[in-house]
Symmetry: C2
Subunit: 379 residues, 2 copies
């Protein structure tokens, strides 16, 4: 995904400082800003460029247009030893996600499982961040979210589900299993990056407003933002031949744990009527309730090793297990800097001006420039 | 999938009688035979032809070659209010699955969630059967299994995971949500049916032993049975471009709940050393622990209705929600009869001869004939 021509590298610490300052300017406390920047920059550290700095400006827009309420107090509407439902009252997604996952972890430690469903939230970043909170403590982690409708179900021409990512994490040696992705072929974030790079997308990712395949990211994003139809395909594509009904079904499971159990807004109600209406789901499972956690971890780690050592396809020299890329990215990015698209830095510059932060004090003499074809609407 | 030329219709009651008789001849009690035939024929009733009568002979082979032990006693090796691990001691998959799901349901009713992981089992049929046991009682159901390695991970040329189906069911009106499918593009069962029909498979389903795409079901099945390499692709295909790493990751989640939590054999150890080594996972979640179950059901049913009513793609007049096809199939198949491939009936005839059952007493003057190209090895 990195595109040297359109990308600039900045030290992690620089972007962290900018984020801490910006989120406090947005009105969050230092502690809150710290959680939010950690979700965002973990995304960049993991190499998930689409969900890090790239999203900064969307959160600011969300606050200024009233979608995100900085002083919202989460309300626990139902709680049992294994479950909870939280009404986020339009609070910041990262803060609600962090709190909900902490509750799920607490419950799993005591009762074996914790499942928490959150309604009336906002975009919470990468699903894997929350799942990872559990695996960092030796538990199995799960998180999912719905999002503004962008997935066009099999045989439909209107987006009805979000890109609805599901993340699962499991403790393992030498690298935890970290499986975190959308239930669509690709994320909206990837389309946004192709748009910012002015490049055509691969075939099989999206359809235009007539339900016809399109490789034009700007067109697809434009259609979506104007609510004209079309969107991204479920994993497996537009028909049953390669299993589009399976990706569509996985998207439904993300709805189940987010919008259904919490009785919140389903993806087709997100971003409607001046509300985000986004919902999330969280689960932690304690392996102690199934056997010796160290033995289970060892057993799983061995399978992961066998996968990595399996015979490679012609022309390939490596098989990945989920989480390896993210693990290796952290070391690389901390050493070399976080790659940010010039198009994103242009947005960051505007944001600094608006917030009264001195862009130069973070980024020196760097002057951002974006490709001419970039769609600059409010997607 | 139905192929009139190669297919014959028989009344549900005829096939049920044959199955009851055959499974009792195999050595099961009447009660056990009843559970086993119900799993098999539910598959045929649901229109999942690949996992009904089509599999009968495989179970017989499993018993005669010692993979399936008819008198195995399941052992509960760990149990808590929300969890259990069962060692199946090579018992029949359907019986172990039925017992494990009953335990998960009991736990969910009392404690909110029940998760049961089973090791040392055998092929258990359709994952959805067990999940449906929970939704039939107003709970959310989940089941998954691993199976003999047949999924070739992204960048590999050797199958390392099974087709590893995952099923989720959720109570809904007018039709329960029933989402049950393999994490591969298609199942081995579908390849077996293309083999029996002597037809080329669509592109993008499988690779041959060199990791090269193949549409020849007989070749692919032959390679697999001779352990020569190749197999079926994960949902999303052979590379990352269309998300093969996502299908591969979903397959890993089936391993997690089946072979990892139970510390049983992972897919690459299934059917090795004269043991099936198959593992299953089961979960039931009680919606009462999240809110009023009737309200949650209503909320979900409304979303399903909105999906069905969404604007259709060009040339399409219906959007399905998961479970509708199965629901409609039951009525049709009960009225018209269960379609069985001639190739399968040939196997059933041989089986009757072997068991001392009178084929004619069930099927009258019908004489089965199979296509000449059919691969008849022990796949
Ligand atoms: N908040 C939201 O609304 C929202 C919506 C969609 C996606 N997201 C986030 O966007 C991020 C990216 O999603 P995506 O769909 O682009 O994911 P992706 O396609 O980049 O897949 C990433 C996952 O696949 C693994 N992986 C990658 N290549 C692999 C290989 N060859 N073999 C094995 N594993 C491999 C990674 O380790 C990781 O677990 C996720 O973090 C997701 O949570 C958020
Ligand atoms: N025991 C084993 O080892 C094993 C292995 C693999 C699969 N299986 C079973 O095989 C069966 C078939 O698996 P499969 O991968 O071929 O499934 P499939 O591709 O037939 O998909 C079936 C699922 O998708 C839904 N569906 C179909 N078309 C749809 C559409 N257009 N829109 C929305 N939903 C749609 C169905 O309602 C069902 O939930 C499953 O029951 C599975 O459990 C068992």
């Amino acid at each position: 995904m990195a595109d040297a021509k359109n990308t600039v590298l900045f030290p992690y610490e620089t972007l962290k400082k900018l984020s801490m300052d910006a989120f406090q300017k947005f009105g969050f406390t230092e502690k809150e800003a710290d959680i939010i920047q950690d979700v965002l920059l973990t995304s960049d550290l993991f190499g998930i460029q689409s969900h890090g700095m790239q999203r900064m400006v969307r959160y600011h827009k969300g606050i200024t247009n009233g979608l995100i309420k900085i002083d919202a107090k989460p309300e626990i509407v139902k709680e049992t030893p294994i479950s909870a439902v939280i009404d986020g009252h339009d609070g910041m997604g990262q803060l609600l996600g962090h709190k909900a996952m902490e509750m799920a972890i607490e419950k799993a430690k005591k009762s074996g499982v914790g499942i928490v469903s959150v309604r009336n939230s906002n975009h919470y970043g990468i699903a894997g961040y929350y799942a990872k909170m559990a695996s960092d403590q030796g538990l199995i982690g799960f998180s999912c979210t719905n999002s503004e409708a962008i997935m066009v179900p099999v045989y439909a021409r209107k987006a009805m589900l979000g890109s609805n990512p599901i993340a699962w994490t499991v403790p393992a040696d030498p690298v935890d299993f970290f499986f975190d992705c959308s239930t669509t072929v690709v994320t909206r974030g990837k389309l946004e990056m192709y748009n910012k790079m002015g490049k055509a997308t691969p075939d099989g990712w999206a359809v235009n407003k007539d339900g016809v395949p399109s490789t034009d990211a700007a067109e697809v994003l434009g259609n979506i933002s104007r609510h004209e139809g079309g969107g991204i395909l479920p994993l497996g594509g537009a028909t049953e031949v390669l299993g589009g009904h399976k990706g569509y079904g996985n998207g439904m499971i993300a709805e189940l744990f987010s919008s259904i159990l919490s009785q919140g807004g389903t993806s087709n109600k997100c971003m409607v009527g001046g509300k985000s209406n986004i919902c999330h789901g969280f689960m932690a499972i304690n392996p102690e309730f199934f056997g010796d956690p160290a033995e289970i971890k060892k057993h799983f780690s061995q399978f992961l090793q066998e996968l990595r050592e399996a015979p490679k396809a012609q022309g390939q020299d490596r098989i990945y297990t989920h989480g390896e890329k993210e693990h290796e990215s952290v070391a690389k990015v901390k050493a070399e800097g976080i790659p940010v698209l010039n198009g994103t830095m242009l947005e960051v510059q505007d944001l600094c001006n608006e917030l009264g932060l001195d862009f130069k004090s973070y980024f020196g003499d760097y002057v951002p420039e974006a490709p001419a074809t970039m769609f600059k609407g409010n997607y």
